[in-house]
Symmetry: C2
Subunit: 310 residues, 2 copies
């Protein structure tokens, strides 16, 4: 293990950054860096690049590493980055995790291998354990990514217990995108004194989460609404918290009426006046013109904007 120079842990609101693609579907580092800089300027404490909303699994490891390099070269501090590095293939997860740590990333957000279903906690423990051991760097801060509605492979509390016991300090927390507050609360309660930082996967649970000990949230709509979401984070123990939470929940509900990833891209395209943002990689498809009109219309009617994006 290399000697550790460990940056402060990321706390606050993180966006799982949408990935811009050119017309030929290649990733576009220029648009990517520009969007990331806007997010950091607009209230995000960190960037969970290469998450579900980033279409990360639709990209090869090399494509993601090129974007990560461009981002750091473009001035976004590595310590604020929590790239997704979990793949189905152990060797892909190791390669990407190792590179992320080498570049100084504040953490990595790791999916379980998600092809095989019904796998055991023992098999998942071995997967994460192999990645940690092969990365072999005490600077690694591993956040487990629990998103059973998409991955169909769960990270159970017992698995977290085992990993945290074996790798304290390295296993740093989790993003809970189960959409099940009871699970988030159980995670917070069980590991509250263990240096395990929990981030709900939606701002809908931000205020409840912070009151129960969460360190922030990692949320899709952080891509378009980072300012107001960050305000809830900053004001959670003040009298205006409930009203602010109600505002961001209302925005979320408008977004959720249509498919989230193309919606984030369509909204960004509209407010940045840059139609190129709408492109998604297969198997996703863009919003229909009707869906686009609906979501942008409702957002505008609610007074939504993306200050400084243009």
């Amino acid at each position: 293990m290399k000697p550790a120079t460990v940056p402060k842990r990321i706390e606050g609101v993180l966006a799982p950054v949408i990935t811009p693609f050119r017309r030929d579907l290649s990733p576009d580092p220029d648009r990517f860096v520009k969007h990331c800089r806007w997010l950091m300027k607009s209230g995000c404490a960190g960037l969970a690049v290469f998450g579900t909303n980033s279409e990360a699994n639709s990209m090869a490891v090399e494509e993601k590493l090129e974007l990560l390099e461009a981002l750091i070269r473009g001035g976004v501090p590595a310590a604020t980055l929590m790239p997704g590095t979990g793949h189905c293939a152990l060797t892909d997860s190791v390669k990407m995790t190792r590179e992320a740590v080498r570049m100084g990333c504040g953490g990595v957000l790791m999916l379980p291998p998600f092809y095989y279903k019904g796998v055991s906690d023992e098999g998942l423990f071995r997967n994460f354990s192999e990645v940690i051991e092969r990365t072999g760097d005490e600077r690694l801060r591993l956040y487990l990514y629990h998103i059973p509605p998409v991955s169909n492979v769960a990270i159970t509390l017992d698995l977290i217990e085992r990993l945290l016991t074996r790798y304290p300090g390295i296993v740093a927390g989790a993003k809970d995108s189960s959409g099940d507050w009871a699970n988030t609360k159980a995670m917070l309660d069980r590991f509250k004194d263990r240096g395990f930082d929990v981030f709900p996967g939606s701002e809908v649970f931000l205020l409840d989460g912070l009151r129960a000990g969460a360190k922030g949230c990692i949320t899709a709509t952080g891509n378009v609404n980072p300012g107001p979401i960050s305000e809830v984070y900053k004001s959670w123990n003040t009298g205006k918290a409930e009203a602010l939470q109600a505002g961001i929940t209302a925005t979320r509900k408008i977004m959720q009426k249509v498919p989230m990833i193309p919606a984030l891209k369509a909204v960004t395209a509209h407010f940045a006046n840059d139609p190129g943002w709408k492109t998604v990689r297969p198997p996703l498809t863009e919003l229909t013109p009707e869906q686009e009109k609906q979501v942008i219309g409702e957002l505008k009617a609610a007074g939504f904007s993306m200050p400084g994006i243009f």
Copy 2:
């Protein structure tokens, strides 16, 4: 598109070849080539390397390409190979498909991108279409891999219709691992005069399949029981077909009592007298000693053997 020199289409029994790993979990080309040669000698018409049973998604693209090269260098004719080349990432699928065609493989067996769930036929059409267009080689024979119990993303009959209409000759067939005979039958009936070769994903449906127009089967247990399964294929329109089918179904049922992939490896390890075969990559785990004892005991009691494997 390059001028086409198209090998005869693969028909018969194909094994989705199990992948041997060394103790450090790296793929072992020597054991792999040896096993593949045994399979071809023992009745297999072709090898669906890098399928679900191959733990293909637990390997990086480069690891699979190295195994594929070793196999062809080791004397297995490329025209008999139908490697799995479908990944979540479009660019990975393109890379692997292109290489497989360049090496002269008889076909490729392609999973849909399987991270995002609930995607549209339009999104899946675009995925396969991009892979075909970017491969840009008329020698490509693409077999669609329908395995909803694992991928959780289905290849519908309407999607097949659309792909077959747009890419006749290139879209060559499907492996149906739905486990649902009604779906296999519907696939056979709907595309029977369209040059679309259907392979049930289990030998349990082999005889019924052949009677309904299937071209063979691609089955897990083809790894350990290729001779008897091939006998059903050869004898399907004779008086002994039913009895032979009953025999291979009985063997399948013994195997299915325990997790299939580690069972295939444990059985191979036992009959080849090579314990190294038992190693699986996470997230899978080996059989427990009890499971191993059970499956091997029942197979032996049923008179099962792997002639020539040792």
